[in-house]
């Protein structure tokens, strides 16, 4: 049911004039994709420095909360640009993207990464004591940093897999993969 609804929505988006313009433009799609990828340096670059600091890998002599607070703004700016360009990339090729297994897995990891970020921020605010000047953050914050690193590495890797067609709807007959990727037509044809 959800797959049918998502496919209908994707077909509706694909029929939009602006969606077709984004793909048809010689440079528009490439510029979007380039901006999406290059903003990684701002968003994930800043995030990883914060995570590395929690683990004591960079600037152990600078208070951890100072690094987290000062890099928060550029990180958020980076993520906002990434989400806008990411949404436009989906809007440009909606059917292909929504029926991509990698895209769906990426969205799940993104969701988990945001939940982790929320938990991490709450832990950071509630962490008491004089650990701030310690080279390594307390255990729960270190765990949060490691989970963050793993999840974002997964998000980037799955994002890189999206253009590849190994498990595209037309390249597999495995029903589990077809269902997970939302290949409605192929499932109905079986």
């Amino acid at each position: 049911m959800i797959n049918e609804l998502l496919l209908q929505f994707a077909h509706w988006m694909e029929a939009q004039e602006y969606s077709q313009m984004l793909v048809a433009g010689y440079y528009s799609y490439s510029w979007l994709e380039a901006t999406h990828v290059l903003t990684l340096m701002v968003s994930i670059g800043s995030l990883f420095i914060i995570d590395f600091r929690m683990l004591g890998w960079v600037m152990p002599n600078v208070p951890a909360t100072t690094i987290a607070a000062r890099l928060h703004k550029p990180m958020i700016i980076g993520f906002v640009i990434m989400f806008i360009t990411g949404a436009l990339l989906v809007y440009a090729k909606p059917v292909e993207t929504i029926q991509s297994l990698w895209f769906r897995m990426k969205m799940i990891l993104l969701l988990l990464a945001f939940i982790n970020a929320w938990v991490f921020n709450n832990r950071l605010k509630s962490a008491e004591g004089n650990w701030d000047n310690d080279p390594v953050a307390p255990g729960p914050l270190r765990t949060g940093a490691i989970i963050s690193l793993v999840l974002w590495c997964g998000v980037v890797t799955l994002g890189r897999y999206i253009p590849y067609d190994w498990v595209d709807c037309t390249n597999t007959t495995n029903t589990t993969i077809l269902w997970a990727a939302g290949c409605v037509d192929q499932l109905n044809a079986l």
Partner: protein, 195 residues
């Protein structure tokens, strides 16, 4: 007298000499003479070297290494931005710039090493194509320039003395140059994918 003055700027002079050498290589037609001879090496990289064979045979391995390349570029870009924006006085104003410069450099070097190693693998997988791409050669040139700039000019200068003793415009110039160089490296890398 002249020797003592020049010895203070040995690294900068070495980088300038390298730049001059590149200009000579280009203007005297040396590059054009060498370029055809490199084609067989690039074909060997793609078809016979184990890096090229793995890259062309196993698409999933190639894509995963591409992701690692992106991640290392993200870390590299993060350290460059954090340092340079601090040098420009935009972020982390309450953290001494000296601390940030030394604190992120180790991370930068690891990210650069990782980006170069994964980049070699990625290039080997499509070596017979990138050889003909102008943007690939521009990226290589900027990458070499950037690495020399970071390791021989920016970092030695910024760690040689307290930043208060360095002309503020020199610091600003270093930061802007650094950001421009690494942005160009990343952007040309992205453009290789589109070409």
């Amino acid at each position: 007298m002249l020797g003592s003055i020049l010895s203070q700027y040995a690294r900068s002079l070495a980088v300038f000499a390298a730049f001059l050498l590149m200009v000579l290589v280009e203007s005297l037609g040396i590059r054009e003479a060498i370029y055809p001879g490199l084609e067989s090496f690039f074909n060997w990289m793609n078809q016979s070297s184990w890096l090229g064979v793995i890259g062309t045979t196993y698409g999933s391995v190639y894509a995963t290494v591409e992701a690692l390349h992106l991640l290392s570029m993200a870390v590299l870009g993060g350290t460059v931005l954090a340092t340079d924006l601090r040098l420009l006085g935009i972020i982390c104003k309450d953290v001494p710039s000296e601390t940030l410069v030394t604190g992120t450099h180790k991370c930068f070097r690891w990210a650069l090493l990782m980006a170069i190693l994964t980049g070699i693998f990625c290039a080997a997988g499509v070596a017979n194509k990138v050889y003909f791409m102008e943007v690939f050669w521009i990226k290589m040139l900027v990458l070499i320039t950037g690495s020399c700039f970071m390791l021989f000019i920016k970092q030695p200068l910024l760690t040689s003395r307290p930043h208060a003793q360095i002309n503020p415009w020199t610091i600003r110039l270093l930061a802007v140059t650094s950001m421009l160089i690494w942005f160009t490296v990343a952007a040309t890398g992205r453009w290789i994918g589109f070409s």
